[in-house]
């Protein structure tokens, strides 16, 4: 009898639930879409305004550009849209950042062919405005299983630092593995609010502006911008802190038209073009590390450029903790330049650059960190220029590479010293040149939380046997006071003065104003 009554009550509850479920769903959706600022949303607004002026001299010493740059960055973010933040529980946020960067030192003819064809610089962007990022993000959804990001966003992985407009979905499992899958459009120069920073090198793409019509054909190396679909995924370990690895795959296509031949077709008809979907880049890579606190560890990775069929990057490092204050290490890095698959330069690439280093990091006394590394960078080439032999042999031109760094911090300030020498040696490498020098920087807080001062000086020398007219020794110093009249604002001035025989004296003045305000209702 009791069981029957219980079943009846359950059935009644179920029936009642069925009747109110649509309304409950609507109410839940409405609640989810209603701003809940009063429940703990945190807002953040920040920005930078900077102005800098300096001269840029060409290789022949003439002062050509008087740069008067002005830029502004504005960022906005709202965190904890769900209300009160709790670790490991779902949270939502919105973030965006925009900027403008202009040079009032431009001459009119540089951007306007009609104004002065002898000054016209093809492809130069004047006052570009870009949306650095702008997205909605959700983390730790569904008990930590899911996360997402929709909008313009960065991806940082072994394939590089990259940006796209689209959506990313993250799946995190309890089984020590997580995965990401994403798709959208690669950020490319010439598209609205976009920068060319994230394209693979090898092709100039952008707004043609003054390059329209007949003029465009005079500059066939400058391609039109068009949307670039992109997809990718990553599989990454999660949980253990002593070992970590991430595998990445990414594929990007180019669309639209692109000039092919760089000279008018002999048979007439102007400059031929290709059109349509074609591969821009397809790469995969892995990066991982494993460290045991008391012993040391290893890290390594590689990038395979599927489009060109070469391993474009491979690196590895070993570290041994020889007692707490001393770490010994050895590193190797192999790099082959690769480019957008629209570019011809992929097919000029021959051999890689291999750098091997030994490294010591130590803390001889508390608050003093010192690192010393040294090794060789090997430049490969088919053929032996010293023996004038053909491509049936490979020559190696080595550079000697050394680097020393030290930092001593005392709470309210620090002093940093950095120096190094990189020089070619051996018969084949005699044309590689050298560069060496050091700089010292001191920073000190003068008035707690309000006034800081940084100053530094440097001496560097370099020589290039292929361009001896560019050899020089430079002495420079910089002074940079910084003031924070209030918690939310900082003003900084940086004065740099360099002297070398190429430019005589060069001055650079930089002023910046940063602000950051947080509002937590």
């Amino acid at each position: 009898m009791l069981g029957e009554a219980s079943r009846e009550r359950a059935a009644a509850r179920s029936s009642a639930w069925r009747s109110v479920r649509p309304w409950a769903t609507v109410a839940a959706l409405a609640l989810a879409s209603t701003p809940r600022m009063a429940l703990g949303v945190d807002f953040e607004i920040d920005g930078d305004v900077f102005a800098q002026g300096y001269d840029v001299a060409g290789p022949w010493g003439d002062v050509l550009l008087g740069r008067k740059r002005f830029g502004a960055v504005l960022g906005f973010a709202a965190y904890n849209l769900q209300g009160e933040a709790r670790p490991l529980e779902a949270d939502y946020s919105v973030a965006l950042r925009m900027r403008v960067d202009t040079d009032f030192g431009y001459r009119a003819g540089e951007t306007d062919y009609a104004d002065d064809p002898t000054l016209y610089v093809p492809g130069m962007a004047y006052a570009p405005v870009d949306l650095m990022y702008g997205y909605v993000e959700g983390r730790d959804l569904g008990g930590g299983w899911f996360g997402f990001r929709v909008g313009r966003q960065y991806v940082t992985d072994v394939l590089g630092w990259w940006s796209f407009d689209g959506a990313l979905l993250r799946l995190t499992t309890p089984f020590y593995v997580q995965a990401e899958v994403y798709g959208g459009l690669e950020q490319r120069g010439g598209l609205p609010l976009s920068s060319p920073r994230f394209e693979r090198p090898g092709v100039w793409r952008g707004s043609h502006g003054d390059l329209e019509g007949d003029l465009a054909a005079d500059f066939p190396s400058y391609q039109y911008a068009a949307p670039a679909p992109a997809v990718g995924f990553a599989v990454e370990s999660a949980g253990p802190n002593w070992i970590h690895g991430r595998f990445d795959y990414r594929r990007v296509w180019s669309t639209g038209a692109a000039f092919t031949r760089q000279f008018p077709a002999h048979e007439g008809g102007g400059y031929p073009q290709v059109e349509g979907l074609r591969l821009s880049s397809e790469r995969l890579g892995y990066a991982g590390s494993a460290f045991l606190p008391e012993i040391g560890g290893a890290k390594g990775g590689f990038v395979y450029d599927v489009g060109t069929g070469v391993v474009s990057r491979a690196y590895g490092a070993l570290e041994f903790h020889v007692g707490e204050p001393v770490t010994l290490g050895a590193e190797v890095d192999y790099f082959v330049p690769t480019f957008d698959l629209d570019s011809i330069w992929n097919w000029f690439t021959h051999d890689g650059i291999t750098t091997t280093l030994a490294r010591v990091a130590l803390r001889p006394v508390e608050h003093l960190d010192v690192t010393v590394s040294g090794g060789a960078r090997l430049w490969m080439a088919e053929g032996d220029p010293a023996a004038y032999r053909g491509a049936d042999s490979t020559s190696i031109a080595p550079d000697l590479v050394t680097d020393v760094g030290a930092r001593y911090a005392w709470g309210t300030g620090q002093v940093r010293v950095h120096g190094g020498v990189e020089t070619g040696f051996g018969e084949v490498a005699q044309n590689r040149g050298r560069r060496g020098g050091a700089d010292v920087t001191v920073a000190q807080e003068l008035v707690p939380d309000h006034v800081w001062l940084a100053a530094g000086t440097s001496v560097y020398g370099w020589s290039d046997p292929l361009r001896t007219h560019r050899d020089a020794t430079s002495f420079g110093y910089v002074v940079a006071p910084e003031l924070a009249p209030a918690d939310f604002v900082r003003a900084r001035v940086e004065w740099e003065h360099d002297l070398n025989r190429l430019v005589g004296q060069r001055f650079r003045l930089l002023g910046s104003l940063s602000f950051r305000a947080e509002v937590s209702p």
Partner: protein
């Protein structure tokens, strides 16, 4: 027919036994410290022999070195606790934990009862002075007028330090700043995680100092669960570290800046960290994102103001040689055609620079006779291009190269093949993936492309 097993039986058995032994050992280590005596502790003996002059001032008598086995787990990786997480303390009392636990049979709980209900690291889980009154002949009920008894163990100087401690009611003050982390003692104890598992063998020591506070390497013994795991012992930084409203870790503290230890994924932020951070960010950018928001990365990787730690004074003058040495690697932050090319065209270095910016007869490279027109020699451009093509691409457009290398380039040009050895074996897939670069140099109906098809 006999099937082959994946593992020989003896290996499977050995692995099982080892796992069992490990589980037993770990369970033993995890046993909470049981109360060693009843809730009503015996009166403190007045003889001062085990606690006499010099005792209770250091973890071990006369500051002897504490054996590693008695220290908190992870101390080998981090001998000293982090100043940022556990700010330095001033301990102005003497106390002999070993004596109270082993001789007086007091449990940890007898004095630190608060930890069993504590849900925040900032909770003060030290015993109140009145707790001591239960055994010591003194009365701390009014801290403005503490009364010492007649027994030696009730005199101020018996526990308190300072010159003339207790004279006119003055004793040196102890300062135990709040730790900067999240730590619910209650949760850990409820999971049968005993005091020694984080603090080491305090019952073997006299004075417990900062050295007995946990080390991060020790936390990772348990905190290694994946993000969606049902348990709370996840490896996420935010599980233990304090966060800002934007979800990033709080890194700025009066005692210093919180940075990763040298053993965590090799992410030690030493003087050469900027040059070495790439492999760490490539493998685990989420770890970087625990402390750094995107603008921190963009300031260098996509910035508009030269970062000094990467490019020192007078970088404009020396950058050409640095680019030739690929150090630092330009393409890590710069797009060659736009960032580099824009400026190189403006100052007249690039070949397609405006006529007004490039004086007649001016060459950046060695004379044409050596650099391009001569047969290949030590100063021929082909070797520079093979060694470091990025340096070429930062100034030149495709048209510059195609003028000589294209099979249909400038009239009279040679059509010199720039392809590496063995290129023909892979040209078919290259053509299939993207024909555009092929068509820059080759006619679409040329015999060369026909072979690739």
């Amino acid at each position: 027919m006999r099937s082959r097993s994946l593992l020989p039986g003896w290996i499977a058995l050995a692995v099982c036994l080892a796992a069992l032994a490990g589980a037993l050992a770990s369970a033993r280590a995890g046993e909470p410290t049981e109360p060693a005596a009843s809730a009503a502790p015996a009166p403190a003996p007045s003889d001062a022999s085990p606690r006499g002059a010099g005792h209770g001032l250091y973890p071990l008598f006369e500051d002897a070195e504490v054996p590693a086995a008695w220290m908190p787990p992870g101390v080998a990786a981090t001998p000293v606790p982090s100043d940022e997480v556990f700010p330095p303390q001033t301990i102005a009392i003497r106390f002999n934990h070993g004596w109270h636990v082993k001789q007086l049979k007091l449990s940890c709980r007898a004095c630190h009862a608060g930890v069993y209900e504590s849900e925040a690291a900032k909770d003060r889980n030290l015993p109140s002075p009145e707790t001591c009154d239960g055994c010591h002949d003194c009365n701390h009920s009014n801290l403005a007028a503490v009364k010492a008894g007649t027994d030696p163990n009730g005199q101020c100087a018996f526990c308190h330090l300072g010159e003339d401690a207790g004279v006119e009611g003055v004793v040196a003050l102890s300062v135990w700043p709040e730790p900067n982390l999240r730590f619910p003692h209650k949760k850990h104890l409820a999971r049968n995680i005993g005091c020694p598992q984080c603090h080491g063998a305090v019952d073997e020591l006299e004075l417990a100092t900062r050295d007995q506070l946990p080390r991060m390497a020790g936390c990772f013994t348990c905190h290694a669960l994946s993000g969606a795991a049902a348990g709370d012992a996840r490896g996420d930084c935010t599980v233990c570290h304090l966060t800002e409203p934007n979800g990033l870790l709080r890194t700025a503290f009066p005692t210093g800046k919180l940075e990763p230890p040298h053993w965590l994924h090799g992410a030690d932020h030493g003087p050469d960290w900027i040059a070495r951070h790439q492999p760490v960010a490539a493998a685990n950018s989420a770890m970087c994102g625990s402390c750094h928001a995107s603008p921190f990365c963009t300031d260098c990787h996509d910035g508009k103001v030269r970062p000094r730690q990467v490019h020192p004074n007078d970088w404009l003058s020396m950058h050409a040689q640095a680019a030739r040495q690929d150090s630092p690697r330009c393409v890590s932050c710069h797009q060659l055609q736009s960032f580099c090319g824009d400026c190189h065209r403006r100052v007249g270095v690039a070949r397609d620079a405006p006529a007004a910016n490039r004086g007649a007869g001016r060459r950046f490279h060695p004379p044409e006779a050596e650099w391009s027109r001569a047969t290949r020699g030590a100063r021929h451009h082909s070797f520079e291009a093979m060694r470091n093509l990025n340096a070429c691409v930062s100034c030149h457009t495709e048209r510059d190269c195609a003028s000589c290398h294209a099979s249909k380039g400038l009239p009279g040009a040679g059509g010199t093949s720039p392809h590496p050895l063995g290129f023909e074996s892979s040209c078919a897939s290259a053509l299939r993936r993207n024909p555009r670069p092929c068509l820059v140099c080759h006619e679409s109906r040329s015999a060369v492309l026909g072979r690739c098809r």
